[in-house]
Subunit: 184 residues, 2 copies
Amino acid sequence: MKFEEKTTHRETIYQGKIIDLFLDDVQLPDGKAAKRELVKHPGAVAIIAFVEADKMIFVRQYRKALEKTIVEIPAGKIDPTDTDHLETAKRELEEETAYQAKAFYYDTSFYTSPGFADELLHVYVAEGLHQVAQPLAQDEDEFIELLEWDFNEAWAAYQNGEIIDAKTVYALMFWKLKREKVGE
Amino acid sequence: MKFEEKTTHRETIYQGKIIDLFLDDVQLPDGKAAKRELVKHPGAVAIIAFVEADKMIFVRQYRKALEKTIVEIPAGKIDPTDTDHLETAKRELEEETAYQAKAFYYDTSFYTSPGFADELLHVYVAEGLHQVAQPLAQDEDEFIELLEWDFNEAWAAYQNGEIIDAKTVYALMFWKLKREKVGE
């Protein structure tokens, strides 16, 4: 593998509920030594969910890492027992929004921050939403406000800095391209 | 602030060269207690750099966190002494690619993974590139292959999984929208 960095030693700094932290000693391609700080994450799913053709679901939630409340598309971590990302996406959509979808399809995957973390995010698109009478319960420690915005409302939230999250900015670009295709 | 989580205790797990890790005890909006694992990161810049109207610069590099080589747009961390993100973007472009740009403008910012990290990425667009005779030296521990791809080459790399990084997928969406605007 091009430019491979061989691990000469790994120190486990922390093993937590969601993330682990390792400090690797590596040998660089030129033979020199370097250190790499590495966060291991189980991966996550995110859902671009259209309630109507031009209305998307967002969630407003407090993010402790940022010490502020931001707006994102629905998303959630992959559980150790999950075997199928599509099932994880369906569960997370229902838990966060109380919606199920007639059509659910895979869109793309990307690493959120490959410089220091291995979190891989899988993005799904959900269409034909209907509310569930008795939805799956939200995670105990999650407090979420549900939003249903048309494109202009969402774009305004992007312009004013309330949407400032990579996967949600991706969803807006996806939506913009979709709208341009159908000539809206 | 909506749904604010008050910090009742903070444990410093690790303070490193690039990232720090904290474990916060928080009080949730309903009064219950929870724990939050938080990675602090200095933030970064990324550059959507057009060598020609339909040719963008990419870098291929090994990412230890992923244990593989992937293709990304040029990017780099903000140094503690940096005061201006634009200057950081200019430096990182020159260090990684040996190019300077006639036009450099700000595009957007987003958090790469707000669920556990505060890394904020600032995206700039560079146009009118020219090679520098004696460019700034690359970081000692960075090994990079420079690529100049047209849209179809880049999109093919996305389809085959070599482009699998959030900021670079964003750059492709940005490029696609730009091309549709001018009718390419």
